[in-house]
Amino acid sequence: MSDYTIIGKRMPRVDSRAKVMGKAKFTADLKLPGMLVGKIKRSPYAHARILNIDTSKAEALPGVKSVVTGKDTEGVKWGVFAYTRDQEFIQTQKVRYIGDEVAGVAAVDEETALKALDLIEVDYEELPPVFDPMEAMASQTELIHEEFPNNVNVHVNIDTGNVDENFEKAYYIREDTYVAPEESYFQAEPYAIVARFDHEDCLEVWCPNGGPHMKSKPLSNAFKIPLHKVKIKKITIGGAFGGRSEICPVDYICALLAKKTNKPVKIEFTREENTIATRQGHAMITTHKTGVDKDGKVLARETTCYMDGGAYSSTGPIATSVPFLSMEQVYRMESVRYNGYRIYTNKPIRGMIRTHGRGFACGLDTQLDMIADHLGIDPVEMRLRNCRKPGEYTSTKSYVDSCAMDETIHKAVEKSGWKEKWGKLPPFHGIGIGTNSVQTGFPMGIRGGSQSFIKFNEDGEATVMSGVVDNGQGNDNMLVQIAAEELGLLPEDIHLVSADTETTSSDPGSYSQVSTFVGGHAVQIAARNCKKKLFGVAAKVLKVKPDTLAAKNRLIFVKNDPEKSIPIKKVVRISLLNFTSVNAEGGYWPKVDMTREWVKNPYGQMCEAFSFGTTIVEVKVDPDTGQVEVLEVTAAQDVGYGLNPLVLEGQFEGALTMGGQGGMLTEYHEWKDGRCLNPTMLDYKLPLACDMPKINNIIVESIDPKGPYGAKEAGMSIAMSAAQGYSAAVSNAIGVYMDSFPLTPDKILTAIKKKKQQSEKK
C-alpha cells in the first residue's frame, strides 16, 4: 500500500481554503439579480381539514409578487416509493402536523413576505390529533391518511424461519423493551433554497442536498418538464446527516414561486423550520427477545419495533429496515424474526438519520450485556462470540466479504485498557462497549451506479466530473485525491465538477455510505482509463511498452528507469497535435440483488461491502446529581482502507459526538400537543467543545476486495456504536441496565435511587 503518493495520506481538504477565508458560498449567501424572498405559510394545527384559503389580502399587499396554494399543484402526491405517495407539496384537503405547508409567498423583502403570511386566511376544521404511535394504531378517530388502515404506514416483516424451534432449544431467554424519543439533525446550515427559471425555461436550483439527482427527478415530474430542464447546481452544503436526501415541499414551492414571478426566489428556513419542517429521527419502542445457548451464542431473536413516523412516509420503508439491518450485519443469529411498524402520527415527518434507532441498537447491546451478566461472560467475550466474521451471510442473505469486526474489538479493548478496568473501577465509574455495522449502499435500481468523466486540458491539468455530492464530510477531497493519485498529478491540478445535474451523471447520492465505494470507484476507473491513453502516447515518445510506465508528480516515467520520463503536460500536447484529445469515462455499479425490496422481498445481496466498528466509553456518574462526565472514548472502525486518515478521524470524532455525547446524554425533543418545545439550538442540547472527552481513533483496515483501494464506509456507524458504548458505560457505572434513552440525569438519578431502595430492603 505504501506505493501510493496521495491516497492514504493525511491530506488537508481541498475545500478548506475557501471555507476558512469565508469565501465558500452556501445557498443563503447567493444573491441573484431581481431575487425575491419566499416564505411558507404553515399549519398551526396538528390535524385539521382545510375548509377555505383566502389569499386575496396577501396578494393585494404592495411588494407581494406571488402567493401559491395547493390549487396550483393540481393535488399531485409525492413519495419516495410508488406505494408511499402520500404527500402533497402544498396541502389541499388536510393538514397533518404543526408545520404542514399550506401556502407560499414571494415578496420584495422578508418583512413584506412575513406580513403577507399573516394576511393569508385559512379556515380549518380541527380534527382529533394523535401523537402516540400505539394510540394511533388503536385509534378509532379519523385516519391520518385514509389509505392506510390503523395508521400503519409501513410494515416490514423478516423471518428466517426456525425462530420458535430455536427458542425451544435455548438455554436462556430474555425479553426486554426499550424506548427512545425523536432526535434532530441540527445541521449547522439551516435549510435554504434558491430557484429560478432561465431564459430557456430551465429550472435552476441551489440547495443543500444528499444527491442532486434525487431532487431533479421529482421536480421534473412535478413541473412536467424534461429531466434535462431541471438543473440542480453545485453549492457548498452545511451538513446533512441523512436529513437532506429527498425532495421537500419547499423545493417545489420555491420553484413554483420562481415560475409564477419569473424571478429568482430564495427561501431560508428559520432554525425552528429546519427542526420541525424538514425531517427528524424516528421515536421507537423496541422489544427484543433473545434466546442463547450456554455459551451465550444467539440461537433465536425476535424483534418488534414500533416507530413513530410522523405525518408522512418520507423514506419510511428504508428507515423501518435499517435498524434491523445494522443489527443483523454486526451480530450472527441462527434465526431471527423482525416486525417493524412505521406508524403515522400528527407529528413532524421522520426520515433517515445518522443514528438509526437509539432505542433499537442500544437496547440490543444492553440486553446482550444482561445475558452475558447472567451467564458470567465478559461483555467483550460476549461480542466476540456473536460478532460477524468474514465470508458469512447475514440473516437476510447478504454475503459479507471483508470484515474486521473482531479486530476492531481487540484494538479498542487494548487501547481503552478494558481488561484493567472492567469490573475493577470504583463505584459510579463505568466502562462499556458498543459494536455496530452499516451497509455500504443498498439496491437503488437505475440510480445504483455512478459514472465519471475526465478530460485533460492543454495545460496538463484535468477536469473530473462526478455526480457525488459533498455534504461537508469531504467527498470533494476524496474524489480529487483518487483522481490525482491515478493520473499522477497533484491535487491542485484537479478541477472538480460535481453534484450538478446538468453536467454530471446520476449517482446514488451521499446518504447511504456509498460515496467512496461507488462514486469514488467510478472516478478511479475513469482516471485509469484516461491514464491508459496518456501512457499510450508517452510509450511512443519514450520508446517503451505502455505497461512499463507509471505516473507521479506530473510526470510519466519508466518504472525501472525513473530518469526516463516526460511531463504529463507534454504528453497531452503531443496527443492534441496528433488529433486526439485525452479524456475518458468510467463507471461503477455495485452487484446487488435487484429483486431485493424493502417490504416485498427483504432478502438477497444488499450491497457489496459492510463496515464494522467498536466504541468503548469510560464515564463517571455523579451519584448526587445523575450527571455524567465522559472521561474517554475509543472508536475503532473497519473502513476497508483509510484513504485519508485526517478526514477519517474527523468523521469518527463527529460521529461519536452526535451519536454518543449528544444522542445518548442530552439530545431529545419535548412536546406539548404536537408542538415541539425545543426546536432551537438553545433548547435542544447539542454537545459543546467544553463538554467533549478525550477521543482515541483507531482506523482498522480490512482491504475490501471490491472497494477502491480496499475502502468502504468511513465512520458513520460510529454514531451508533458510540451510542451503545455510552449507554453501556453509564449502566456499568450505576449498576442498573437502562431501558429508556437518552440517559438524562433525571433518569440516571431515579435508577440510582431505586437500586439503593431495593438493596436497603434486602
Partner: protein, 173 residues
C-alpha cells in the same frame, strides 16, 4: 421608519451604508456589504456562527444592531487573511482538518482569533472554554481544538503541523 446613513469600519476599511434601526450587524454585513462569510445558523445568539470582532472582542453579530457598531473597529472572517496570505490560525485549521462542512468555521475562527490575541499559547482547557459559545455539528471539536493549540505554535509530534508550508492560492498559467 427611515434608513440612516452610517459608516462602518470593517476590516480596516470604511463602508458607507444606509441601514434601518432594526438591521442587525449580521444582516448589514451579509445583505448590504456582501460580506457573507459570517453566517446565521440560530439567529438568537447561541451557535456563534455570526461571531465577529468589535474592538477586538468577539460578539454575536446577529444580536448586535448595525447602529451599535458605529465607531467600533469591526473584523470579520474576511479580514483574517492578508490578501491571499492566510493567518497562522486559518492555515492551522486547514492543516489539522478542523474544517468539515465549514458553516461554523468563520465564527469558530473569530472566537479562536480573539483568544489567541490575548493568549497566544492557551492550554486545551482554555481553548475549549473559549470555544464553548460556538457550536459545530460535524467535527466533535477535537481537530478544532488542536488547530487552535498549534496555530503559530507548531508541535513536532503533531503529524499535521506543517511549519511554513502555507498553501498558496492556485495560480493558473
Amino acid at each position: 421608519m427611515e434608513k440612516i446613513q452610517i459608516t462602518l469600519d470593517i476590516n480596516n476599511k470604511p463602508y458607507d451604508v444606509r441601514v434601518y434601526p432594526n438591521d442587525t450587524l449580521l444582516e448589514v454585513l451579509r445583505d448590504e456589504l456582501d460580506l457573507t462569510g459570517s453566517k446565521e445558523s440560530c439567529g438568537e445568539g447561541v451557535c456563534g456562527s455570526c461571531t465577529v470582532h468589535m474592538d477586538g472582542k468577539p460578539v454575536r453579530s446577529c444580536l448586535t444592531l448595525a447602529l451599535e457598531a458605529v465607531g467600533s473597529k469591526i473584523k470579520t472572517v474576511e479580514g483574517l487573511a492578508s490578501g491571499e496570505d492566510l493567518s497562522d490560525l486559518q492555515q492551522s485549521f486547514i492543516d489539522h482538518g478542523a474544517v468539515q462542512c465549514g458553516f461554523c468555521t468563520p465564527g469558530m475562527l473569530m472566537s479562536a482569533d480573539a483568544l489567541l490575541n490575548v493568549n497566544p499559547r492557551p492550554d486545551e482547557k482554555t481553548i475549549r472554554k473559549a470555544l464553548a459559545g460556538n457550536i459545530c455539528r460535524c467535527t466533535g471539536y477535537a481537530k478544532i481544538v488542536e488547530a487552535v493549540a498549534h496555530a503559530g505554535n507548531p508541535q513536532d509530534h503533531c503529524p499535521d503541523c506543517k511549519t511554513g508550508s502555507k498553501t498558496v492560492s492556485k495560480t493558473k498559467e
